[in-house]
Symmetry: none
Subunit: 204 residues, 4 copies
Amino acid sequence: MTGSAQNIRDCGPNRFERRREKTRVELLEAAERVIARKGYHNTRIADIASEADVGLGTFYLHFKTKNEIFIELIDYGAGDLREELVKAKAGIHDPAEKLRLTINTILDAAARAPESFRIVFGHGPAFLDLMVRVHQTFIDDLRIDLEPAIGSQADAVAHLTIGMLSQAITWLLEREDLSLAELKETTVNFALGGLERAARPDVS
Amino acid sequence: MTGSAQNIRDCGPNRFERRREKTRVELLEAAERVIARKGYHNTRIADIASEADVGLGTFYLHFKTKNEIFIELIDYGAGDLREELVKAKAGIHDPAEKLRLTINTILDAAARAPESFRIVFGHGPAFLDLMVRVHQTFIDDLRIDLEPAIGSQADAVAHLTIGMLSQAITWLLEREDLSLAELKETTVNFALGGLERAARPDVS
Amino acid sequence: MTGSAQNIRDCGPNRFERRREKTRVELLEAAERVIARKGYHNTRIADIASEADVGLGTFYLHFKTKNEIFIELIDYGAGDLREELVKAKAGIHDPAEKLRLTINTILDAAARAPESFRIVFGHGPAFLDLMVRVHQTFIDDLRIDLEPAIGSQADAVAHLTIGMLSQAITWLLEREDLSLAELKETTVNFALGGLERAARPDVS
Amino acid sequence: MTGSAQNIRDCGPNRFERRREKTRVELLEAAERVIARKGYHNTRIADIASEADVGLGTFYLHFKTKNEIFIELIDYGAGDLREELVKAKAGIHDPAEKLRLTINTILDAAARAPESFRIVFGHGPAFLDLMVRVHQTFIDDLRIDLEPAIGSQADAVAHLTIGMLSQAITWLLEREDLSLAELKETTVNFALGGLERAARPDVS
DNA sequence: GATGAATGAGTTTTCATTCAT
DNA sequence: CATGAATGAAAACTCATTCAT
């Protein structure tokens, strides 16, 4: 009897937890798809629930508000990307190389998971406080990478580079015929050129 | 007597029109202020009317929807800026110089009329079809400027540059302590560096 | 001087009065056309003013409310028709003949001035209190005509006849190819048949 | 166990549907009462929701506009009445008898469910396209009934009869002291008299 | 836990009426 | 007198959130 109870205790909650987690993930994925398609403000919670194929009330068992699932979505996506960036830059010390890796990694990720990126970069930074903060994270990381090379100009160059990337992603997502390889090359080149000039304070 | 008749002919028929136009402009200016302050989606039509100090119904006398006044706002602002750019570049043939002028002119304008720019560049290109089209206009103009220097890469570089500028403006608008002169210099430098590299197809 | 003043007193006010009356009539005619076309509730005062080719404010110089012009319209039209009926029936004593004249006169008038009739008879009696009263007037007149012949049944027959007529008018107005002469004949016949039966209380 | 599963199969899936349908019917009944009482144009959607004792938003869960519930109301009511007429006339071939049955059935129904009838017949045919169509249905049915007896005059007589009936209903609904039996008798008599005359083309 | 019907505060929208010119 | 821009009360409509089952 104890054993059986044990079993219930061991499996039951896990089974429910697993099911719960599954629904939660389905909601997140559904939200990503719908928001990417219709934009945040035009997405109704009913749309998300319906896309996830769950009842409307179920949404509220997992997220308190529309904003909450959105934040989760962004945080989750941005966190993943950031981790990937950290890994890619591990052991690298050359700022130019770090810049190149940042651009390549982000553009690769955008091509791989366009829907996430349409949300994070598709609205521009001024959309929501959260977005500003997320963008700021990437800008800060890049600034730190660039400071050894260009000092006080690192902040500006980081801002400009992220803006450039944001536009590159938007372009990539809306033009399916665009060559990812070429876009990466041009973007990296452009940024490296900018970086070079920033490092030569003599040119006006 | 002829003069008096003249006056009547000149002013009489326009009395209502002038009043109407005045209110219309007040509404547009009010909308600009409120949308810049609260963002498009958080702006109620009542807010605009109230900011313009007119009755709620008056709004609908001039614009059918919030979207309509917004479109007018963007079109008007973007048109002005574009004209200014055309003037600034008149007689210039060097692509690099045109690029420099584009950046300087836009950043100057942003510093001069932050509210308009917060609207045109503050939401990112994916916000509304119109925004995409407006951004596209500037990108196209720039592409044409750059084609003589870098050929097929002009499109990409134009996209990247406008993205960069968009970010620069956002940054400028949110950080009052930022030096406009320095931002302009860094941005121009960055872009010129990118342009140089794009012109040298040998570097990877 | 007195003479001149006299002249002004005589002509001036008359000229204005005449002009005023003209505008008033234009508004009434415009209202008739528009209400006949769009129905009372779907007619905006702006529509009436615009159809009369006067300013919106001008409407209110002549009528206090939308209801007022409507009442005027109905009263005026119904009064005219009633007068015509009285004249037509002058000197006639036979109830059947009076019934025949009532039907013929009303259908003739409807064919002559369809727009007025679309308003008076085109909405059914329950539309507005006023309409009920107007219909009641015609019913009462007819009841008095019929009482000598059928006594207590006169009220019911008057109601039924007016209902019949109302439908005949609606039909006439919506089917341009309908022969007025035939409709009149059928309607008169139908009513006279009804009247005959009402006069023979033996039939079940 | 099978039974229980059966129950689940029977009730489970329908629980929401049944609740939904119940509210929908409550709204329809409430709309009937309120529109009959205040007329279509003076009825606010809030009135209907309040009469049905549900929230305002609930209305929109079931009907898109006020017009939509109104159309449903008319269609439903008219359909019922028409079915009743078809049943009543089953097996009858004499046109006069069919006419008598039509009148009696409709007047009985009006006395039984005054609210529905105030809506279907209380606004007159010109109110809405739908009303015209509904009236036309009854006219067409009657015309087919009468054609064997009076041929080409059937259309006109059908129109006149329905107009007569419409007025009889209006009268019945507004005068509570009216004897239904007497009204029916008079109306039938009137119509039969008309029919007789129509069948004798010799009388002018 | 899951469900979707119900809710109602918050917005948009209409239009009869006023009023400065 | 004539005008039409302005007004705002009143009505329509949306949708995030709750809750009984």
